[in-house]
């Protein structure tokens, strides 16, 4: 064995059919806790469907679906404390919902309204990050702030497999390791970075092993197994909270959707490949498990579907009924105090919007 070689563990609890193949963690003893997880997974999937429908009918901007990957951010968020800080990329709708971002805020954001980032719930959470991987250093800064203030809080940063090729990721992980900051880094390895498959993204056997170079523990987890994700996250968060430093978790899943609504994945991957991954998606296995314990039945499922569906519909209607911000809003948050030339430009823009020639 090469000196320093470290095996990367792969964590799983449920198999694709919902059969228990690992050790059930403590929190699963309460079936209501599992239903809570299942509920947000369903809500996220329904939000996703609605968002795509709105985009296809010209009522939402370009949207990044989380289809098939819901368990990662939901599991991560479920393991977090409310006072922790979430630093997402752009497919973490489920985790955002768990943490109290509202459906209406999600619709507003993807509908092109900055107010969608003014979360009423998790006030310190970061907004989405489109420039891939550039938010990973922010999570280190947030975690450093916690450490400097002696707070037992943790920042959790999620990003895709493509982001692990970025310098930002390498720099941030390295800094996190040196400073032993309370941060947990989560890779949503969904196999594709738009059209570039995982095999062309890195020659590394796992992405989790990138942690080793930074002196961090790295583990893999079945990204479709929300129980396993939450369990791995709880361990990593607890480590961080105890001052034992950051971790990297690679959640292995599959992007069942296009990259975004602007993408057509059939240009670069076979539908057959996608079909192959459908049976492993995260909702079915948790539902099967819940049913197998006798805690879930068709009636409960229908009640849940109805509840989630009406929530999503209501939020969509509220979003659609929300008027766009006035033109002045594009000037009002550039600086704390508006410089004179910006005030002049603002006055011109306001006058033009009011029909001035």
């Amino acid at each position: 064995m090469v000196a320093g070689y470290q095996r990367i563990p792969m964590n799983c609890v449920l198999d694709a059919e919902g059969k228990v193949i690992g050790k059930m963690p403590e929190f699963t003893r309460d079936p209501d806790e599992l239903v809570r997880l299942y509920r947000v997974l369903v809500l996220t999937r329904m939000f996703d469907t609605k968002a795509i429908a709105l985009q296809r009918t010209g009522r939402l901007g370009t949207y990044a679906s989380s289809l098939g990957q819901e368990a990662i951010s939901v599991g991560a968020a479920a393991a977090m404390q409310p006072s922790d800080v979430f630093v997402p990329s752009f497919r973490e709708h489920g985790g955002q919902l768990w943490r109290g971002v509202t459906l209406k805020e999600l619709f507003l954001y993807w509908g092109g309204d900055e107010r969608g980032n003014d979360f009423v719930g998790p006030r310190e959470d970061f907004p989405n990050c489109a420039p891939v991987g550039s938010h990973v250093p922010h999570a280190v800064g947030v975690a450093l702030a916690f450490r400097l203030r002696g707070e037992k809080r943790v920042s959790v940063c999620v990003f895709g497999d493509g982001a692990t090729s970025k310098g930002d990721f390498a720099e941030a992980l390295n800094m996190a390791g040196v400073w032993r900051v309370p941060a947990v880094f989560v890779v949503n390895n969904n196999g594709w970075a738009i059209s570039v498959p995982r095999s062309k993204q890195s020659a590394a056997k796992t992405l989790a092993q990138k942690a080793i170079a930074a002196g961090l523990p790295g583990e893999q987890v079945d990204g479709n197994d929300v129980i396993a994700i939450r369990e791995v996250m709880e361990r990593a968060l607890s480590r961080a909270r105890q001052g034992l430093g950051p971790s990297l978790i690679e959640a292995v899943t599959y992007r069942l959707c296009d990259h975004t609504t602007s993408d057509d994945a059939s240009r670069y991957r076979d539908d057959a490949e996608v079909s192959l991954h459908w049976p492993a998606e995260p909702l079915v296995r948790l539902r099967n498990f819940l049913a197998s314990t006798g805690y879930w039945d068709k009636q409960k499922e229908e009640v849940l579907l109805h509840e989630c569906s009406s929530k999503v519909e209501q939020a969509a209607q509220e979003y659609l009924a929300t008027a766009a911000q006035p033109v002045s809003s594009i000037f009002d948050y550039v600086y704390a105090e508006m410089p004179p030339e910006l005030a002049e430009q603002r006055a011109i823009a306001v006058a033009m919007a009011q029909g001035a020639p």
Binding site: D118, E124, P127, S134, P137, G141, L148, Y333, A336, E341
Partner: protein, 326 residues
């Protein structure tokens, strides 16, 4: 009151800010025990400790990125980028995040950080160590850009930059770090950002500059005085947001404008000032606006650096052309 060099004034401002406000932290390469390669952070590590004076790994993009995370959490990070040539790695973080965190979140998260870096040439440095990137930063909405030109102004402007609620890029003229000493009153008084500073009043011609070139501008004004030409010298000090009023008032009185900067001419910040004057004071102009700047070339290596730098001679020639214009 004491005589300090510009780098000592920066040091005094950092010390003052850290003493006054526990949320001020300093981070960067070699800023700790070494006190920074230019000694700007000298003694801070000993006084405030490694928790507030953080040596970073060599990772400029993340020095900026980590500062953003700290700032969003209510800290006031002052990040040092060792040389301007290395600051370009931070531009992604500054443009995509620091500058727009307030806008994107409708003011929920803000970014009160300072990115300090030595800037400019004339110190016979190795390549990539003498650039003047102020116009690039000034083009970014949401960012403030400051360039001091004396120890006292470095002290007061840096204090204001650290106390500012928005991200500030603070470019310190390397050539002035130790070149001249000046009186600095370490009383914690800031110099307001967003205001030009008229260093020398004059009737005949306005010379506008910033950073190290203020020395050439003032030397030129001295020589012009011997020829009975009365030059007004304005230190822009804060490039963004630009105090247009002071410049326009001056040009309306003198009718002649010379802009001096070390950075290349094309799309240099002088173009912004010239456009402002053309747009709002063209009828006051008695002669075309002159720009005395670096060339649109790479910053040359040290043996030919002198040919690149705007000189008193070049400024004098421009003034004479302006004065002779009919």
């Amino acid at each position: 009151m004491s005589e300090l060099s510009l780098v000592q004034a920066v040091n005094a401002a950092l010390k003052r800010a850290m003493s006054e406000d526990a949320s001020v932290v300093v981070l960067g390469e070699d800023v700790g025990i070494d006190g920074g390669v230019f000694r700007a952070t000298e003694g801070l590590f000993e006084v405030f400790g490694g928790e507030r004076v953080l040596d970073t790994p060599i990772a400029e993009a993340s020095i900026a990125g980590v500062s953003i995370g700290l700032a969003a959490q209510g800290f006031r990070p002052v990040a040092e980028i060792q040389f301007t040539g290395f600051a370009y790695a931070c531009i992604d973080q500054i443009i995509n995040h620091a500058s727009r965190l307030r806008t994107r979140t409708r003011g929920r998260l803000t970014c009160p950080m300072v990115l300090r870096s030595p800037a400019g040439g004339g110190i016979q440095a190795v390549e990539h160590h003498s650039e003047s990137p102020e116009a690039m930063f000034a083009h970014i909405p949401g960012v403030k850009v400051v360039m001091p030109s004396s120890p006292a102004r470095a002290y007061g402007l840096l204090l204001s930059a650290i106390r500012d609620p928005d991200p500030v890029v603070f470019l310190e003229p390397t050539r002035l770090y130790r070149a001249a000493r000046g009186e600095v009153v370490d009383d914690g008084a800031g110099i307001p950002l967003g205001r030009c500073i008229t260093l020398r009043p004059g009737r005949d011609v306005t010379i506008v500059s910033w950073g190290a070139m203020i020395k050439e501008a003032l030397d030129t004004a001295d020589q012009l005085a011997a020829n009975n030409i009365d030059a007004e010298v304005i230190d822009v000090a804060t490039l963004k947001p630009l105090d247009r009023v002071t410049i326009l008032d001056s040009v309306e009185r003198t009718g002649r404008l010379i802009i001096v900067h070390e950075a290349p001419m094309t799309c240099g910040f002088g173009a912004e000032i010239a456009a402002c004057v053309a747009g709002r004071a063209i009828t006051s102009l008695l002669a075309p606006v002159e720009r005395v700047t670096g060339y649109d070339t790479m910053m040359p290596y040290l043996r030919t650096e002198g040919h690149y730098m705007p000189s008193v001679g070049a400024i004098l020639t421009a003034v004479q052309r302006t004065m002779a214009y009919t």
